[in-house]
């Protein structure tokens, strides 16, 4: 009753503030819980196949079909990783894949940087119309052209060689051209102008100025091309008939169809090894991947 009003007001204000921050903290905690809860739950779906792959690759044949499934094999059978080399041509497949992938990477970097320079840094009549054609080819499905291509390649004796898998990489890819062009257009024009004043040709500007500056974008193209060669299944499937020439993807699929479920443990070991280079590449070049991927969707 005798409490001075001057005293009451701050107190209630204080408790109000206290309540506010409590409620704020409660909602923040709740939303964090929901956020991380959802992420952890969803991750389960993405992680499960990896666990299953590793676990299967270390199992003994009699542990494969047990219910409920065994997660940690006993004993852990590392031998499966050796069997993949002994029972099938695993090493040959890896070597073959490198024979395809490395020249493809070099070709993709060389050809697409040249082409992208022509679209980004040289002003010529009809350029934008031609670039529209480049973009339009992105929706042309490979399934429309593969029959004539196969016939052409068989006529010139390229079937059962690596040439049909490597040659196209040397002749431009719409997606890489687009990506590199975006990057080149972002480089300051003054650089080229200065070099031109000094008497440099376009080829000189391309080689000495643009390429060194474009390393991040080139890394993206090189990475994507390597992965697409490493992962390619359809190309090797239709062009390679000799088993000794199979690439890794085709080779592993062939192990499964040849040896079947009884041998699934060491086939899984081979699968793990086939994935390993990609995983390692990702860990070393995570930023390059993310930036490259992000580039593809934006300004599309």
């Amino acid at each position: 009753m005798s409490t001075p009003s001057a005293y009451v007001v701050p107190a209630s204000e204080g408790s109000l503030r206290h309540q506010h921050s409590l409620r704020f903290r409660a909602t923040a905690a709740l939303s964090a819980l929901l956020k991380y809860g959802a992420l952890v739950l969803l991750s389960g779906f993405f992680i499960l196949p990896w666990v299953w792959m590793l676990s299967t690759s270390l199992k003994n044949p009699n542990e494969l079909a047990i219910w409920p499934p065994i997660w940690i094999p006993n004993p852990i059978r590392w031998d499966n990783y050796i069997s993949a080399f002994k029972q099938a041509l695993f090493a040959t497949y890896v070597l073959n894949t490198l024979i395809v992938a490395l020249p493809s990477v070099i070709g993709a970097v060389l050809s697409n940087t040249l082409v992208a320079y022509g679209f980004a840094r040289v002003r010529w009549p009809g350029r934008d119309a031609v670039f529209a054609v480049v973009l339009a080819t992105m929706i042309l499905p490979g399934f429309v052209t593969f029959i004539p291509l196969y016939i052409i390649f068989s006529r010139i004796g390229w079937v059962n060689t690596y040439l049909p898998l490597v040659a196209p990489a040397w002749l431009g890819n719409a997606f890489y051209i687009f990506l590199l062009r975006q990057f080149f257009m972002g480089l300051p024009q003054e650089l080229s102008d200065a070099a031109r004043v000094d008497g440099a040709s376009d080829l000189g500007i391309f080689w000495r100025i643009i390429l060194p500056l474009a390393k991040p974008a080139i890394a993206v193209v090189a990475l994507f091309q390597f992965i697409s060669s490493w992962n390619d299944y359809f190309g090797p499937l239709i062009y390679l008939s000799d088993k000794a020439r199979y690439t890794i993807s085709l080779g592993i699929a062939n192990m499964q169809s040849t040896y079947g479920f009884m041998n699934f443990a060491w086939i899984m070991a081979a699968t793990v090894m086939s994935v390993l280079p990609i995983v390692i590449l990702f860990f070393f070049a995570q930023r390059t991947f993310i930036e490259g991927i992000a580039l593809t969707g934006l300004k599309g």
Partner: protein, 304 residues
Amino acid sequence: MTVIQRSRRLSREERHSLRIGLLFISPWVIGFLAFRLIPFIMSFYYSFTFYPVLETPKWIGLDNFVQLFKDPRFLTSLYNTAYYSFFAVPLATFAGILLAMLLNMKVRGMSIWRTIFYLPSITPVVATSLVWLWMFNPRAGVINFVLSLVGIRGPGWLGSPVWAKPALILMSLWGVGGAVVIYLAALQDVPRELVEAAQLDGANVPRQIWHVTLPMISPVILFNVITGLIGAFQFFTEVHVMTGGSGSPADSTMMMSIYLWQTAFRFFKMGYASAQAWVLFVIIVIFTVIMFRVSGKLVYYGGK
């Protein structure tokens, strides 16, 4: 031809730059002619021919196309491809946006989450297919084991004509990470002021998402939906690996691409296969055009 004609009217400088430009893009020009345009035209021609691979093509007019639409196996492949695309593409779009939005909420350990979600999308498809093939095993696979934990007796998955396609759709979601990264980049480009303005106007979170965030990233959604559809229509490797190229059981995973491959490389009917390729191509073009038309009203292209 037009280039030459027009070049007569070009100044000397323009002609010079045209030469330089064409020189730089010549690798693409050669590739375009050799690997795109010429095969494209040849394929069109083959689609009107009877062409067993060892003989020369013989013109038969529209016969291939007439036969196609009476071919129950082709119609089945059309249905299966439509079924797969109808579920896989919207689900991937929804899951991709959802994951990207979760990751956009200032989460800690970003590189770990990104690795978890993105890595599957660059994993070799053959590896993915083999792992999932074993995961879907009805009696020893982990999928039915997880289902049994919540008291569900799992179906036969890839051995069942009813469940084989849903199995493939489920598996396809494992590769959604590439789209997540694209969506995330787009979400990070949405100006904060816009979201804050909506908050000040009293919009709750769902309305902020519906009226601000989604319209702002709509061009990226369109891009992903179109590339997703084109990919889904050509869905091949997983089915080929998991069914040994057969489209089993009972043709329930017989996709257009699988039938096309069989026609060309098992039955060596190149003309008939080319006709299928052209039907596939026309379908893809029609859907791409429809997507652009429909999206004209829905997609918001910022100031630029």
